[in-house]
Symmetry: C2
Subunit: 261 residues, 2 copies
């Protein structure tokens, strides 16, 4: 993956891809890329470590784009590895700039000064959320009610334990969309599904939803797909084809409920 370039102010802006069909779904991928640009560089990690799930969510970006084409969604993704700054974490969360991720040490994060934490926050986290926020509130100002869904992947083996769940749906304060997506996916079969699996909001994994959707009362959910199921472009496409009908049905059901209520 080529290293992203900061803008003229040294900020790493998120990439926003607006679907021509102009639907009201916004898909977000905070862990889309495993790029380690200057001034941080590789943080002392090997090439294999920079390819591993600790550095990004393999397959999530391709899956998100496949879903976006099918749903008419707009997508927003970060361009920098989550190990430099994890945009789904507040600056005071341990996972924002982790010194350790699962079984891996991250040498370049072992001793970060407060000034360096502030610099990474300003260069990566602030522009990411500013860009997403501007997009969301523009839609709201136009009288629309965007649905916000974050797209993640997880490793099949974590701390040596095999994970059986294949598709997790996680909610923040409002569980409505997550529960509806889960019901639609389970009704269609073919995937081992779980609510708030393999993580939940209690693990601080819903930061983006909490910051961007909850304050506006927007329907929202976080999706987690086991990364061995989206390990190639063809597999990403197949998973997008499988999940898109469940997501469409869930969003339609929720929108109908909102209108009736």
């Amino acid at each position: 993956m080529t290293a992203p370039e900061p803008d003229q102010n040294g900020l790493f802006q998120p990439v926003i891809e607006i679907c021509a069909t102009g639907g009201d779904v916004i898909l977000v991928c905070e862990h889309a890329c495993n790029a380690f640009p200057a001034p941080w560089g590789d943080l002392g990690l090997s090439g294999a470590e920079r390819q591993a799930h600790i550095a990004w969510d393999p397959g999530a970006l391709g899956l998100m784009r496949g879903l976006a084409r099918r749903l008419g969604a707009t997508t927003v993704h970060a361009t920098v590895s989550r190990l430099i700054y994890d945009c789904n974490r507040a600056p005071d969360m341990a996972g924002a700039m982790p010194a350790r991720s699962e079984t891996f040490a991250v040498p370049g994060n072992a001793a970060i000064s407060a000034a360096e934490r502030a610099a990474r926050t300003a260069a990566i986290y602030v522009p990411f959320h500013a860009g997403l926020h501007a997009l969301i509130v523009q839609r709201i100002a136009l009288g629309r009610r965007p649905v916000v869904i974050t797209i993640h992947s997880f490793t099949p083996v974590y701390f040596g334990q095999r994970r059986d769940v294949e598709f997790g749906v996680i909610h923040d304060a409002d569980p409505a969309l997550a529960r509806t997506i889960l019901a639609e996916a389970e009704a269609r079969g073919g995937l081992v599904c779980g609510l708030n699996a393999p993580y939940s909001a209690a693990d601080d994994v819903t930061h983006t939803l909490r910051l961007q959707a909850t304050p506006y009362g927007l329907a929202n959910a976080m999706l987690e797909i086991r990364n061995d199921l989206i390990a190639s472009p063809a597999a990403e496409e197949a998973m997008a084809e499988r999940l898109a009908p469940a997501l469409s049905a869930a969003i339609a059901a929720l929108t109908a409920t909102a209108k009736a209520g």
Copy 2:
């Protein structure tokens, strides 16, 4: 009040005044100013209407600055009248660009197109909250826990009804700081105090707190002072002198509790 100028991108940035003593209190005044800059102009209001409480919170800016000097706080305020865009409202709230405020019609807001709503949101609301957000998360990244307090004033007579409350403290999801401030103010006497008076979060008045403090678990509260009590610079100073000890004591008590817990 002289009309504020937009920046080179046409955005009305908030004014951020950083206290040299570098304390961890951030005071916010969304309704500090009654300026009606181009391209919107006076919205068809008379000079008297543009001076009235519907256009701004008279006395709130001066009170906030008086408090900031005493608390060592940083202040953030909007420079544009709330009738052009109310930065304490989401774009889909009726009060964001109101066609009517109390007994007053606002002709320039009577028929706003969706595009105009989006343009005002982009020019005023988005930069205000981006500036405040960047400030808050910089402090968090530096290992600090800023306390966020919004400063407002309210009219003594509303829809013809006299209001007896003089000092209201309003909370969003976390009532801890609001309750502590209220207790400290009541213990000191001299003001008719009320919790969630003359409004509450149910009236959608805690948008800034909900967006900027609640997602980070920061202590927060909204203060409302009856504007006849801060109707001159001397009165603003006297009220700052009266309230600062109660705020200091409340913040200290809450910080001590957080450290003990």
